[in-house]
Amino acid sequence: MTLLSIQDLRVAFRMGKVNGVAQRAEAVKGVTFDIAQNTTVALVGESGSGKSVTAMSVLNLLPDNAERSGKILWQGKDLLRTPLHELQHLRGKEIACVFQDPMQSLNPVFTVGDQLCEPLVKHMKMGQRAALERAEQCLVEVGMPEPKRRLAAYPHELSGGQQQRVMIAMALACEPKLLIADEPTTALDVTIQRQILELIAEIQRKHRMSVLFISHDLGVVGEIADEVLVMRNGILREQGPVAAIFASPKDAYTQALLACRPSLERNPARLMVIDDHIAGRAAQQEPKPKDPSAPVVLEVRGLSKSFWIKQGLFGRREFKAVQNVNFQLRKGHTLGVVGESGSGKTTMGLSLLRLHEANTGPMSGEAIFGGKNLLTLTDRERQPMRRRIQVVFQNPYASLNPRFTIGQTLVEPMAIHGIGADTNERENRARTLLEKVDLDGTAFGKYPHEFSGGQRQRIAIARALTLNPEVLVLDEAVSALDVSVQAQVLNLLKDLQDELGLAYIFISHDLAVVRFISDEVLVMKDGVVVEQASAARILAAPREEYTRRLLAAVPRGYRPARAVA
């Protein structure tokens, strides 16, 4: 039986007036689909495809400037024409939501118990005691360790995965018929993502409810969905059962989405990007062999970094974030660093750049770069070394100064280091670099907010390249991007490496991505390197249990074996 039926839904946003003419931006352009009882429907698309807007219009959780038309039938009743107070009865009780960022979705000043009890008291008219008992049951159900103690905990005391479990428990509290999960795993590490996916699948089976699962990653969706809808630019491109979508995708866009994710099985030299696929170009299959005797540019021996943690009134405790890391990085090669959050991989990368202030804790070991130890340089000696080792950060929305034009952002480092004779020359060079990262010259005078995440990340790469570095530290540089955009940036990084002979230190939590780009891989856990081997060997014969767990957590898309079992 059909639970929710969306018919020709259109959503537009009023964008104010320009010269007296009202501006409207159409986000969803006539979408029609049904969600049957006891099924998981996945809505897949890149950012800006209108997938979240479609889902949020079901409960009218859109901003005030949205205009909806069409029909949204919930068990035969049109939700577009339902008054707000009736909708509020539906929200949380019949249709529940889980959002992307659990840290932002939970209220930091209330305990987990308070937040779990709220919908129970409101919708189920339970007393406080009954609600608490039910809340504990919910926590047990989502697999929270020590549920009784967690009821009194505040959100910040929980890890990201546990917070998302609480969000799911809240959504489940009133036993809704439909769960809308809006990118529930995007903000999480792959290992935690795996746990949450399994949890959602299990709960769906147990309660026989329906799930509308929104994601940008077809690989994730393939593991739990029954039906898949692929959306692009506000239009449904393809819909069908998951087996059909994965086995024989009809739409070129769907095929491209399937191809652009780095996988553990294949390792092409370049990833397919959406445009390639639509244009019908085939991927290059064989990666170019690398020169194993290339000169060593960076040699790290026994690198350790600790942070002081205040304890008591005067005391402090040493927290060892990174312990005894050793590696050699050759010109034109890539060192992949994998681990979960808190494994010390970012601290390791930033220590090489000395981006931690000295008073945060002691650092020891050696990092020999161009005959000098990076860790003991004075400030004056460090300045010329900065040119040669550069960094690209995770979040492209935060790493560019919003008040600088792209031109200013790119010219500044050259001016600091005296590269180029005058401003003209520097600007020319900045434009050339922009073209190198596939942006045109018009980007020069624009501000960061006018670019998408992938474009911003390319600008950040261009900024790092302004100084002609030899080593580039890429700190989760593609983790915040959609898979399709991630493929473009990964290809760009490979091209730049081939062309300029750069050495990369590539930090990521996703082994599939690391495998695509790296020659050697360090697996880190709690500040210690647990396994260190070539990328192929890590994949073929992982030695450690932890590495195997990381490997198992990589989403593999739809596998028929699972459907049979």
Partner: protein, 375 residues
């Protein structure tokens, strides 16, 4: 808006000739397409703010009022209007024109005696000299100054024009408010930036300083400064500036703490930007809207503070006039029923302060980056 507008027209085919440790890269870059000479500039943050501001009707009207006031102040400062505000042009406490002259006071109700005048010349010892004095007096020219019975907005107890006084008072009060706000903003921004960026010992010291200033009741601190420095416009500016920076300091400090760990600041550090460049060219422009809005609030606050100080006799000097001194004079006039000085000063102040506050409000809406894209 941007400093590099002029430098955009790069010469065609200019060949960059930088060197670097990665020669392969330089070669690759040189073979790239020749730079495009024409670059279109995007809308900057301030430009976008102005575009949003223009759509706010209330804000725009208030901005017009504020600009009109500023013009009036400029004219007053140049001596084009209200130059002779100290001249006694009217009768004491002359009423405003729209009320009309005061009715002549009914004196001499005693009945005039009838009968012949008494001749006192027999007993008056000075009588023989009256003629001589009259002759001597006739040699000098005397002119009776006709004082106006009414003035546009009335007169004070010396017969000075209240309108001229109010205009001159506007000049002084607004000048004091703006200058004091500038001083306070400068101190607050600088200390807040240092404290927020460096933290540690520097931050501790500045927090201590801040706490000392905050621990003393504000009005007492002002009295103490006023007692030491004496009266005068400069003093009032300094007093208000030196005591009023703490709120702005707190806000700038918190903004800097927030921005210090942002990735764009780290990225600036990674490219080798100096500490001062990070503080002033990277972070400061990103918190400038906070500073600007806070400063406009300070202007309003300081104008009111100046009024209170002058009212209490600690404000501007006796030779000057401000809204505060006008209000102080009005106190004694009000008992006698002369309300116009109070009304004039209040009206000027109310209109300016209200317009300025609403303009500030609109400004904040226009500058708040969180509203971007919502509109």
């Amino acid at each position: 808006m941007s400093p590099q507008d002029a430098s955009h027209r790069a010469p065609e085919g200019a060949r960059p000739a930088w060197g670097g440790p990665a020669p392969g890269m330089s070669a690759a870059l040189q073979s790239g397409t020749a730079a495009i000479a024409q670059v279109e500039h995007s809308e900057g943050v301030w430009h976008a703010a102005w575009r949003r501001f223009k759509t706010d009707r209330v804000g725009l009207v208030c901005a017009v009022i504020v600009v009109a006031f500023l013009l009036l102040i400029a004219m007053a400062a140049l001596g084009l209007v209200a130059k002779n505000w100290q001249k006694e042009v009217g009768v004491p406490n002359a009423p405003p024109t729209f009320i009309g002259p005061r009715p002549p006071e009914a004196i001499g109700a005693i009945e005039v005696p009838k009968g012949p005048n008494v001749d006192l010349s027999a007993v008056d010892p000075l009588a023989p000299r009256y003629k001589e004095w009259d002759e001597r007096a006739a040699k000098f020219k005397t002119q009776e100054v006709v004082k106006a019975e009414t003035l546009p907005m009335g007169g004070d107890r010396f017969g000075r024009d209240v309108l001229a006084k109010a205009i001159k008072g506007t000049q002084i009060s607004v000048f004091v408010g703006v200058m004091a706000a500038l001083v306070a903003t400068l101190i607050g921004t600088l200390l807040g930036a240092l404290s927020g960026y460096f933290g540690g010992r520097v931050g501790d010291f500045l927090e201590w300083l801040y706490n000392v200033f905050e621990a003393i009741p504000g009005i007492l601190l002002i009295f103490a400064f006023a007692a030491v420095f004496g009266r005068g416009i400069t003093t009032v500016v300094l007093i208000l500036g030196l005591t009023g920076w703490s709120g702005l300091y707190r806000q700038v400090r918190s903004e800097f703490i927030k921005h210090r760990s942002r990735e764009y600041v780290r990225a600036a550090e990674a490219i080798g930007a100096s500490v001062w460049s990070r503080i002033f060219t990277h972070i400061l422009p990103n918190v400038s809207h906070v500073v600007l809005v806070r400063m406009s609030l300070l202007v309003v606050g300081f104008i009111k503070a100046e009024v209170i100080l002058s009212y209490l006799g600690l404000g501007v000097g006796v030779d000057d006039v401000s809204w505060g001194t006008m209000l102080a004079e009005a106190q004694s006039e009000l008992i006698l029923g002369y309300w116009w000085q109070l009304a004039a000063a209040t009206a000027f102040m109310a209109v300016f302060v209200t317009a300025f506050s609403l303009m500030t409000d609109a400004l904040r809406d226009a500058l708040d980056p969180k509203l971007r894209g919502l509109e």
